[in-house]
Subunit: 248 residues, 2 copies
DNA sequence: CGCAGCTATTTTGTATGCAATTCAATCATA
DNA sequence: TATGATTGAATTGCATACAAAATAGCTGCG
């Protein structure tokens, strides 16, 4: 396949998570001729398709179709599906393949209860452990987000927003926390609740983000934690509304 | 509606998690002739081997050996390994197979921070949502545990202990919380810290459990949450000690 | 001894084959 | 028309085959 990959740095192993860090790591690895599992590529590809909503909740995953789309044989596809099943994005139906995990109001509520607690924890840890550079980067993202808000650019706003939350969780220094958060967050991102953001709610969310940034800047742990929990709680309402409309 | 809706008619899908509930469910399923993936069996088998420590952290997973041991071909074994990789119990090394994820003091600390928060949350939710029957069952397990403590039966004590914590998390009614908890807990259970329990520490742990049961019985949410967090924090110290001895 | 380089063996990664199951389309029947 | 059986096609689950890579084992050389 790739004969130039004759030398290896044995240190680095590839995982299939699309951590901000590990993505860039694997891009670097790719450039250096690091070996990469086909199944890992398929995982990332499928995960994106699912989270972007291109593969909607409940949709059946046909192996043949996926193979053609992703240009591989069934083996890596099947392995990827098992991986994603463990992640919860896919459900296995013995003898009947797999479907994209459906989203229900119940699981959304469950997940947000967890996300609220995890971000609350992240807030406390971030106040204690984040470097000034971490905070500066979050501040930069915040202003970028404000710009998108001012211009009414929903999708870019949303990306900045996600990035801020992720940074916050990552800069706690607790990688396990970050991974858990990312996995759970991926599930609800599928709900595509962006479109459901009314101007008032949008404004309010931005306000909350301002307070969040302030509390983080002051490293006011208790305040930040409380703000994040209530912010997440509001976000849940938006998601649930969007979900209600979808099914209606 | 979309044709995928047809799949919802089939309520039961098999997952690969060994929930108390889903284990019994799949046993029933088995008896009823429900289909079951070989890969799912291998997942459970391997997970047990890893958590029991029979496959120690860092050990290489040789596919041929596992195939012989589990009496299947490589396909289900490889799929199971991918599943467990997503769960974090196994690490993938491209072109060099997979190893049981090593345990480090850092990840143990990270995980316990999360477990503490999650059990704290579970305590609050349990006070609000648990049925009296749930609490009665936990009380029964508690007394069973006391009996094992009195007799100095470490392993059975440990099993009861685990079961109590699991019940507590399950009776919150938040399945996502329970799954997340179970996955993270599985990682640290591998540390085999039981042996490291001094008589004093053991007594103290039992005392803590008594207080935990009392708070739950009173449905004193704040108290229970605090007790659980500190209980977990103490448990972490034991685990870290055990880990230190192992590597020393 | 140690160790560099080569070769043989093992192991992994991917593709493919085959049997069993499920799905779909057709037809018969009430 | 709706319902149910029947049969052919599609799909899945598992096993296996084959190629590429990694490991282990030699050999000769210092």
């Amino acid at each position: 396949m790739c004969p130039e990959a004759a030398y290896y740095a044995y240190k680095i192993y590839i995982n299939m998570d699309q951590t901000q860090a590990s993505v860039s790591a694997s891009v670097r690895a790719e450039a250096l001729g690091e070996p990469r599992l086909l199944a890992a590529e398929v995982v990332e590809r499928l995960r994106d398709l699912i989270i972007q909503g291109e593969l909607a909740p409940g949709v059946k995953l046909n192996e043949r179709v996926l193979c053609e789309r992703l240009r591989t044989s069934r083996t890596p596809v099947r392995e990827a599906i098992k991986y994603l099943a463990s992640e919860g994005l896919v459900e296995l139906l013995p003898n009947r393949g797999a479907i994209v995990t459906p989203i229900t109001a119940t699981t959304v509520r469950e997940i947000f209860v967890l996300l609220g607690t995890l971000e609350g924890l992240a807030g406390e840890l971030a106040c204690a452990n984040a470097s000034e550079a971490d905070i500066a980067e979050i501040r930069a993202l915040h202003y970028q987000m404000l710009a998108h808000h001012a211009r009414g650019e929903l999708a870019p706003y949303f990306r900045c927003n996600q990035e801020i939350h992720l940074r916050l969780v990552v800069c706690t220094g607790n990688a396990t926390l970050a991974n858990t958060y990312r996995a759970l967050n991926g599930h609800v991102r599928r709900a595509r609740y962006m479109a459901n953001l009314s101007p008032e709610r949008w404004d309010h969310a931005v306000e909350e983000h301002q307070q969040i940034l302030d509390a983080l800047s002051r490293r006011d742990s208790a305040e930040l934690s409380a703000l994040l929990r209530s912010h997440l709680s509001n976000k849940m309402l938006v998601v649930l509304e969007a979900l209600g409309q979808q099914s209606a």
